[in-house]
């Protein structure tokens, strides 16, 4: 099913642009928790690709190595076997990771400040984006004064302003209540249609994967393996109640059960 690492890949031959992400038979193990125990295999031969501008959603049960997958793509950890190639990526984690002492504006501009932009220039660019994101009037509020949905928007603005072609989203809305989560999903779909990026989205929410993804990759429980890849061709904007999505959801659950 999977091609060896060294074999030339057909996808590359047909697609002139290099993919944003290309994983080939990636294996990742973690040192055993106690001495004498076996090493934990988080990912066991995972291959997947994200084309430029494509949104790929990875779903799987808890502990199937989804976060590890993103850390590999972002270069935060190295694979034990296989190859990992990825465009420069910006990571957005499950918790918003906003700095509690900084305003929404300064939080959104964090990556710009790291890149050496002045405080004023950073704030100007961040302010414009926050305006688009519906945070107008709260630019100077600290994270604690913002609602959960607003915090995630600020975190997403920060991720976008990092200026990377690839976004790695790790359960970005898992900490929100169900209603806000749905709102934020359609908001994210809108934001990505206005500012297209290659996206690798990791989630355990199957509906979220279907609403947002061009393709959905299903991982097995640990050790993580790709058990299915489904194309989602439903027109956008999508609703979770669209008949196509409902049918696909059943298929994804079936794959997750096997």
């Amino acid at each position: 099913m999977q091609t060896p690492v060294t074999a030339p890949r057909q996808a590359v031959a047909m697609e002139p642009r290099t993919p944003a992400v290309s994983l080939q038979d990636v294996v990742k193990r973690f040192a055993p928790v106690r001495r004498g125990a076996d090493a934990v295999v988080a990912l066991d031969g995972v291959s997947l690709e994200v084309a430029p501008g494509e949104i790929v959603a990875v779903v799987g049960p808890s502990g199937c190595g989804k976060t590890t997958l993103l850390e590999l793509v972002c270069g935060l950890t190295d694979a034990d076997a296989g190859s990992v190639q990825a465009a420069p990526a910006a990571l957005m984690a499950q918790s918003d990771l906003l700095l509690p002492w900084a305003s929404a504006l300064d939080n959104a501009a964090l990556a710009l400040r790291v890149a050496g932009e002045s405080r004023e220039a950073g704030r100007e660019r961040a302010g414009a984006l926050l305006q688009d994101f519906g945070i107008a009037g709260f630019e100077h509020a600290r994270p604690r004064e913002l609602s959960g949905g607003m915090r995630q928007r600020v975190a997403f603005a920060r991720t976008l302003l990092a200026g990377r072609p690839l976004l790695c989203l790790d359960e970005p809305f898992a900490s929100l209540d169900a209603l806000t989560r749905q709102e934020m999903q359609s908001w994210l779909a809108g934001a990505l249609s206005r500012d297209p990026r290659s996206v690798l989205l990791v989630t355990h929410d199957v509906e979220e994967a279907l609403v947002l993804g061009d393709r959905v990759v299903v991982l097995s429980p640990r050790p993580g393996r790709v058990v299915a890849t489904l194309g989602v061709d439903a027109p956008r904007p999508r609703r979770r109640t669209d008949p196509e999505l409902v049918a696909l959801r059943e298929r994804v659950f079936e794959e997750l059960r096997t």
């Binding site: 990771l97 700095l99 509690p100 004064e145 990092a162």
Partner: protein, 249 residues
């Protein structure tokens, strides 16, 4: 507010006890006698008080500088942590009443041994909460900074240093309490001025009210310094304190 009422009740009870029992003023002076002593000996009390206050301020200042440097050192390097942490703990086990006379022998009756002792006592309560605050920074936040291409220094400056400030303030507040005691212990070991010296002199002269007045002044100073730090902390680090401000919808 209720603390003031309790204090007033204690003072009133004390005054009443001294007056009704007829106890000698040089054994237990009444609050009114202490107030009189403050008025009579104002110049004497003040000149000795400024000496002790200076010792405390300089000692805590030195401890803040050293404690911050120590916390950063053990945070940045595991080798330094292994090398220094046992010494930091050791600094706290030094019996101050025993070491104070030795430092007086070494450095004389001047300011130096007092500053050293205050700094020695205050160093540990500063270094521990500061190092802990540095350590508690979410590892995910450090990873995020790495994906932004941040250098070690940038991560320290933008993420870790601000996160450590509440720890530094906690340490500073703790050291006001222990630093005052340390300064008095140091003065009692050998000095020619300061509140500790004044109290030592006052008792054999049956000036008990003056001794009480001196103690009172120093307590007020410590409380004021502590309150000042607490106020500065609320002003400078409002994000580190539960806010009454509501959440946006």
């Amino acid at each position: 507010m209720s603390a003031v009422l309790v204090l007033l009740a204690i003072v009133a009870g004390w005054e009443a006890y001294v007056r009704l029992s007829g106890i000698d003023n040089f054994i237990l002076p009444a609050p009114s006698a202490i107030a009189q002593a403050i008025d009579d000996d104002a110049a004497l009390l003040w000149s000795n008080f400024t000496v002790t206050a200076g010792e405390i301020a300089l000692g805590i200042g030195a401890a803040l500088a050293l404690g911050l440097a120590g916390a950063i050192a053990i945070h940045l390097s595991d080798t330094l942590r292994r090398a220094l942490y046992p010494l930091f703990v050791g600094s706290q086990t030094v019996p101050i009443p025993l070491i104070a006379p030795l430092l007086v022998v070494w450095f004389g009756f001047g300011l130096t041994p007092k500053i050293l002792i205050v700094a020695l006592v205050c160093f540990f309560p500063i270094v521990v909460p500061t190092a802990d605050a540095l350590r508690r920074v979410d590892p995910a936040l450090r990873k995020l900074m790495r994906t932004f291409g941040a250098s070690r220094w940038q991560t320290f400056r933008m993420v870790e240093a601000p996160a450590a400030l509440p720890g530094l303030f906690t340490g500073a507040k703790l050291s006001v309490a222990v630093g005052t005691i340390a300064a008095i212990l140091a003065e009692q070991a050998g000095s020619e001025e300061g509140i500790g010296h004044l109290v030592r002199q006052a008792l054999p002269q049956f000036e008990t009210a003056r001794a009480y007045a001196a103690v009172l002044m120093l307590s007020v100073f410590s409380i004021a310094l502590f309150s000042l730090l607490a106020l500065a902390e609320r002003r400078l680090l409002p994000w580190a304190h539960p806010s009454t401000k509501g959440t946006a919808p």
